[in-house]
Symmetry: C2
Subunit: 428 residues, 2 copies
Amino acid sequence: MSALEERVKSLRRGASALSMTDDDTRKKALLAMADAILARRDEIGKANAADIEKAEKDGTSSSLLHRLKFTDDKIASAVKGLRELSQLPDPVGKVREMRELDPGFVLKKVAFPIGVIAMIFEARPDALVQIAGLALRSANAVVLKGGREAENSNRTLISIIREATEDIVKADWILGIESHADVDTLLTLEKDIDLVIPRGSNRFVRYVMDHTHIPVIGHSDGICSVYVDASADIDMAVRIAVDSKTQYPAACNAAETFLVHRDIAPAFLPKLGEAFRQCGVKIHGDEEARKSIPDAVPATEDDFHTEYLSLECAVKVVQSIDEAIEHIAEHGSHHTDSIVASSDEAKDLFFRSVDSADVFANCSTRFADGFRFGLGAEVGISTSKIHARGPVGLEGLMTTKWLLSGNGEIVADYSGADGKSFHHKELM
Amino acid sequence: MSALEERVKSLRRGASALSMTDDDTRKKALLAMADAILARRDEIGKANAADIEKAEKDGTSSSLLHRLKFTDDKIASAVKGLRELSQLPDPVGKVREMRELDPGFVLKKVAFPIGVIAMIFEARPDALVQIAGLALRSANAVVLKGGREAENSNRTLISIIREATEDIVKADWILGIESHADVDTLLTLEKDIDLVIPRGSNRFVRYVMDHTHIPVIGHSDGICSVYVDASADIDMAVRIAVDSKTQYPAACNAAETFLVHRDIAPAFLPKLGEAFRQCGVKIHGDEEARKSIPDAVPATEDDFHTEYLSLECAVKVVQSIDEAIEHIAEHGSHHTDSIVASSDEAKDLFFRSVDSADVFANCSTRFADGFRFGLGAEVGISTSKIHARGPVGLEGLMTTKWLLSGNGEIVADYSGADGKSFHHKELM
């Protein structure tokens, strides 16, 4: 057994102990974690400075450097996040169904922590703090693999978190790993890891999905579309298109493709072209679209399969809402798609027939987010159809148990022609 | 592209069409399916007779022959099941969460069919009818692979079901496959199959889990335990033990292991031994247990990892409830475990700390079943912690979509220091 395997086995036992802790204990641990991070922020700053120095030497991009930097503001906000998490209602033990099978014979479905979760995420020390907090709140043990560039920050944060919490929860619940070889080993430990949540580049998430039999939730691509229906309010459609594309182009919920009904194209497209020109968005247009936006470059089939993640997009004129829906089914990534329409019929059809995690009407695709959805916090966005779909909050870190409490009931008494029958009375 | 791949692609389009059908259409199709099976029962009988003849020639076991035989009674009961299914509330579109993000900006989480589900199951024609019915009720397309011994019956049933329903739902939604090679191909089609539900032998289910990246729900092992606490009512404990072991020994929810607190062992074990002797149950006992049941054979460590599925079991005396809980964590398969106890404290501890799909108190493990739980019908029992755990009914065949309906909202308006904030008002 490798060293990593042994440490994960210890985490499995820790998960079991953690699942038994009460709400107050986990709240106390979250607050202790917050206090320790504040108290030891100099130490964290030093480790972070070492990461930044190395990243600068390596010529790391400014956007990555920006995410890597764990400034005092970010530390304060991470600490605030932990304190807010401690105030959220305890997800453990929440009753989801309750039914009396027969008088006094009561079945409950209750929420229970999943166990050991592996989270793989980008080089953002604040993400580490948030993920560790979510795991502790939901009583799950966690293996953390943060971006390589944040190695020193991660190591320091994990040891601070462990020292602040282990005496309170009395469980080995948090483990950091650093090498790619360890990730590969991790992906084989299906007996002791219950769920993998990978974030980061599309290629990396796809790699994880292809190399493990452990359940994975997450998303590789975010090819989101905005469809502008013939019934759309044109000014609204322009505002939504601009927000969906430019408010944060690197986000997975930014729009990449704009589909425009032919009846509204001549009126809408010139305005879209003008708005995008002002924001510096490059347009790849199909032949019909380029009639109204002459400076657009010709779109290839590939453009409609591309997640630009930058100020670039593809525009296509469609003959009908059905063509738009088909286009999304063929080219989209089942993440987030929005219709702009004033017709209720069109909105209804779009809601019913687009098979994506998030289907929106008359608002920006950028609203696809756990915080905006009111989930408290977000572990990631899942395009899987299993377990959790769309923004995943604390609930996505829970499984359930069926608890059945009887008074000596046996199945033989409920069998055969003369057997008793169940009354299945819903109690909630 | 192989022929199978093309047929599955067609099913993917069919799933999309099926997801758009309304409740009445699917009800009508279920009733047409029921009528067609009744009307064409001679044809079904002939195909089934051919399967039986071949199975008898091959020296198939009588229990398999019994399951294979699609008698008039079984046909009538399958048809009744379909009619009952048509009366269940439509799972599609059921609102699970509803929240206003800001005035007039409403988010809903609604149930939606998963898409294309592959079901692999034992040689039971009645199971085929039930599974096809569940798929149709939940608007999912389905690939069916039944036991090889039922090949003729399956082929006939699938063509009858297809002919009776396709004109009504206007969708290619049901496909039968027969060869192991096709199963292997199927397991690679992760783009077009959303979920695999395998039933059957442990070895086969394990094979499926190890050979696909498609999500799988199901269970390979069913090592269920009954723990008899020091506080147990002895007569109740004997009745529960007998029912859990003997009411249907071949079922996955039958008990294999009995753990007995040392304080009650001298009073309980002789009675258990006597009851098991009368039912013909062979006992593998640990040293302590054999002091009270002299005719038990010595238990090896392997016995506590064995799913006998027959009139055989393992018995162990434990020093404490904690030892019982640890034993179950180490040896059980997280399926169903039951405690017999009159102490509320003991029951509570057992409920909180046993991490199994079904945790019972003072009743037989045999109650772990979708029908008995009041789920209407059962696709299978899952020991996975993801998506669905324990008996899986119609709800396990559903995913969700987030539908967000606005009036031109953009994220830019909710950003920055002066940005609007969400009011996140729960509407249900």
